[in-house]
Symmetry: C2
Subunit: 336 residues, 2 copies
């Protein structure tokens, strides 16, 4: 059985291009005792993967020559593992390939998708993305009703979830995104304001929209926008560090915010987090996310591309900002 | 009666020099109803004053042409204020001058020094300096016994207090300071390690001295040392933002730490504070500071210069690192 896959061929220096990856085809074997054979159906694309390609972060960097790592959903077609059987839809770190043989204990462990949950939602608002928005907002940002909550990458996968959750929490929510199409979506979704960083002066707009200061900032982008926010924080502001995509394609780590000492003058806090730290609270979080979705308060914004051969191009969409919402790739031979 | 004083003549671009100030002599009047006339005895010099000269921080910048602002201690020589009488030793925002007339409601309100407290300690370990070290350590850093606590500017006024308090709290304390004389003092004072940033590679030394990571970092300096610390933080590290003196003499705000996203990978937190926020806890804090001093666990490290005419030079000592501990200036005509 032929397995088409993309390996990490070279570490990107600055921007990712297709030469970072190489297409390979090989035979795939049979699962050993304790392993499963999965046919992949959907792949998830996330800015954090840019870090995995380049440096040790919260996981060791991907070794050169090995399959590009990504979360995804697949169907088990042969199981020699006691917890899984053929036909199970599972989520895990399946990588950029048609098939994977695994014992399920990789960095993203294999787990069954709850019956009735569509794979795209399992990878999106009910998955890592939703949990990141949920725990970042509640556990780190701790917004109170009536507070001003600003989110960047607001029309991205995690940012959109964070913003919608802050609305549910009763905050005034301002989203920052690139382009009119994204900003229109934010307003249609009920955000109280939208800033188009590609066509507006973010600092001026923040001053106008947040005259009493910003209480919580959920940051997905870093860079100049983080500086503009730091100039407008309210006393006791909380900055939720989730991502810094504006700098991910720099060859060197870009400078941090020059004005971080505003955290002193206004007793602010910048705090990072990874959703896995809150593993014990995942069942409760998932219940909340599913209920809000059923009530229409939380929707999945997504961009679906097609075909394993387009995996590198799909990853690149994240950094050009082409995607709106969760970036997914549906594999050609998948049908659900 | 002649009042000699220094006014802020020009805002410093980069380094402070004497041309930022101008010497003036004028007649001083008599206090009006509700005011006091104070003869100044001691002036306090603090890195934060560099900020007051240049930009709005937690207070509005000092207006050009007005007396250079500084905390200090003086003796009331005439009072038309119900709470004060002649002979009282008071602490407040007295400025660089021989005399001051005030109603006591300036940025640093006038308050009596408790009987028996020496002025130098009232400005040092029992004053704003001590309270900054105390609240920063306990309220923001929250060190637990056995944790690794790193402090920069460790032979400075605030840093030395923070480090000694962390020792009292049962931490392993590593101090970072410039030069062998300062590092020797740290070790003699009971610090578990000292790093001489002028003669050693801070990143290498932090890795060697803190192999399990840094739990709390009390930062007085910012810049490259903050970056080196961020590379070595332990999971759930707390970074207490107190100062960033390495950048105070830059014409533009220098870049923030490039690797601040380590706060994400290790769920760290950077938080600023100002001691005034904890005003309600000052009596309790002062009691602790005085008890530790009586027990010999907290000492005042200080550098005393003399004469109002030397005020600009004394301020400059902070930025060349000439001072060890609290920088004070005793006025010529003072005798206690």
């Amino acid at each position: 059985m032929k397995n088409r896959h993309w390996i990490l061929e070279a570490r990107p220096k600055a921007s990712i291009d297709e030469s970072c990856f190489a297409w390979r085809e090989s035979e795939i074997g049979r699962p050993a005792e304790g392993e499963v054979l999965i046919r992949n159906r959907w792949l998830s694309f996330d800015p954090t993967q840019r870090g995995w390609m380049t440096r040790d972060t919260y996981i060791s960097k991907i070794p050169l020559g090995s399959v590009m790592l990504a979360g995804g959903v697949g169907e088990i077609i042969e199981s020699r593992h006691p917890h899984f059987e053929s036909g199970d839809l599972v989520l895990g770190g399946v990588g950029w390939q048609d098939y994977v043989i695994t014992d399920g204990t990789d960095y993203i462990p294999i787990q069954k998708i709850p019956a009735g949950t569509p794979p795209n939602l399992a990878l999106g608002i009910f998955g890592f993305t939703g949990l990141t928005g949920y725990f970042g907002t509640f556990e780190v940002g701790k917004p109170r009703a009536g507070e001003t909550f600003v989110v960047s990458g607001a029309a991205g996968a995690t940012g959109s979830v964070a913003g919608m959750i802050a609305k549910i929490q009763g905050c005034r929510v301002i989203g920052i995104a690139g382009g009119a199409r994204k900003c229109d979506w934010l307003i249609a979704q009920g955000f109280d304001g939208a800033i188009d960083y590609k066509n507006e002066n973010v600092a001026d707009r923040l001053r106008a929209l947040c005259p009493d200061g910003i209480d919580v900032y959920f940051d997905n982008v870093g860079g100049e926008i983080l500086e503009a926010v730091l100039d407008q924080i309210a006393p006791r502001a909380r900055i939720v560090l989730c991502g810094a995509i504006s700098g991910y394609e720099s060859e060197e780590l870009p400078p941090g915010p020059r004005n971080y000492m505003n955290l002193v003058f206004r007793h602010g806090r910048m705090e990072g987090f990874l959703w896995m730290e809150y593993a014990k609270k995942v069942p409760e979080a998932t219940q909340d996310l599913m209920r809000w979705h059923a009530e229409g308060k939380l929707v999945q914004l997504e961009d679906v591309q097609h075909g394993l051969e387009n995996a590198p191009k799909t990853l690149m969409r994240l950094f050009s900002g082409a995607n709106m919402g969760k970036q997914l790739l549906k594999l050609d031979d998948a049908d659900g």
